[in-house]
Amino acid sequence: MDKLYQKKHELWLHITFASFAINDETIKSRLYEFSLIAFRHMKWIGSDLLEHGNDYNYDRDIELYKRENVFEVIKALQSEVLNIQKLYTDTILGKRAQTDDAYLLEYLRQVLADDANNQEVTAFNMQRVWNKGELDASQTDALTLFLFEELYKEYELILVYAYMQARTSNALHFNVFQDLIDESHFHLKSFGNMMAKLGILALPRELHEMTYIVKDLEKFVHDGIAEEEAAKEMCKQLSESIHEEKLSKFFDFINYQESYHIELMKKLL
């Protein structure tokens, strides 16, 4: 399978989780923008492979190491960006990815040039304290399990929809997949940042091909709707059980978003 595709997949995750790990809102936000660019690279590299009669999969070889400070996160990311450079081909797409990465490297250099940026990273401290301790132990456990469940699910959805989008010639389906991918990116970002806030940031587990090679679209959509219903129920339960106003409102908001996902998915039938 294609090495560049796998490395780009890994780099997308490295940038995304570096963004989640860092508390500084400016650096977090800039890295997240770069992560979305990396995801588009991944999509374009995948399309290019398919156009040329090749294929790709979602195998990956990546660890999320516990980092103590921002510079450790940035230096590790710098190294990952540099490592992929030799894999780019001498094409317009290869050059586009290289120039984007060069700009990312320049941004990382700027961050490293200012010692004030080297703040503590708390995303891996395992403290599981929400804000100033507004949640009791059982609420924190419920939130923890929800975040692990949903972080994986959103990652899975992004990749499954992207896999199907790359292989459809139906314009309506293509657009629905794009909407669902965009929505899942937002959820992944929300849940990843919440995990970091609780000090339990971890990568979602790898996808097995049985998950993303969909042979029966109708069954996939029906199963997906059932999963969205389950996620809605989990949001509702969390919203009711967590007596913290902002968090409750957030889960209500996610709950209504899941409702519309179901409507979008019905368009695939």
Binding site: D141, T144, L145, E149, I200, R205, M210
Partner: protein, 157 residues
Amino acid sequence: MLDLSGVELPEGMDAEVMSHLMSPRNYGKLESANCIGVANDEKTGEYVIFYTQLENSIVKDVNYATNGCQDTVVIGSMFTDMIKGNDVEYAQKAVQKMHEKLGDMTPEQQVCADIVFSAFSASLINFNNLIDGKVEEMHLVQMKESCDATNMGENNG
């Protein structure tokens, strides 16, 4: 692998469960596997796949993967840790040991445990089928009960 043994966790979720949640053991494909089993829940689309490397009745290596809930992930992670390096007889007894380890499970968690154990058993059936000369890429079993996402931590101290 994330070792949380020295980490002081706040009150609440069991540290071992947390460690398996954050970093599932023996996860993903296993190139050296000589038998593969899948347990599938047609109703929910949930599956567990086991890659087992059996040599002289010893589980030399084992990996699993699933699209299931976190209960399934944690049970798969703990179970593969328990059976790796042991013989098949031990592995079959490990099912009971897992029950003892996990304490009283909810019916939903029991279903998650069953799909994990069924996938492992399916890999053993695949091994025997291959020995008997049957052409079978993997052995598939269909589950009778369905799993709903539930809270692993609630029943584990």
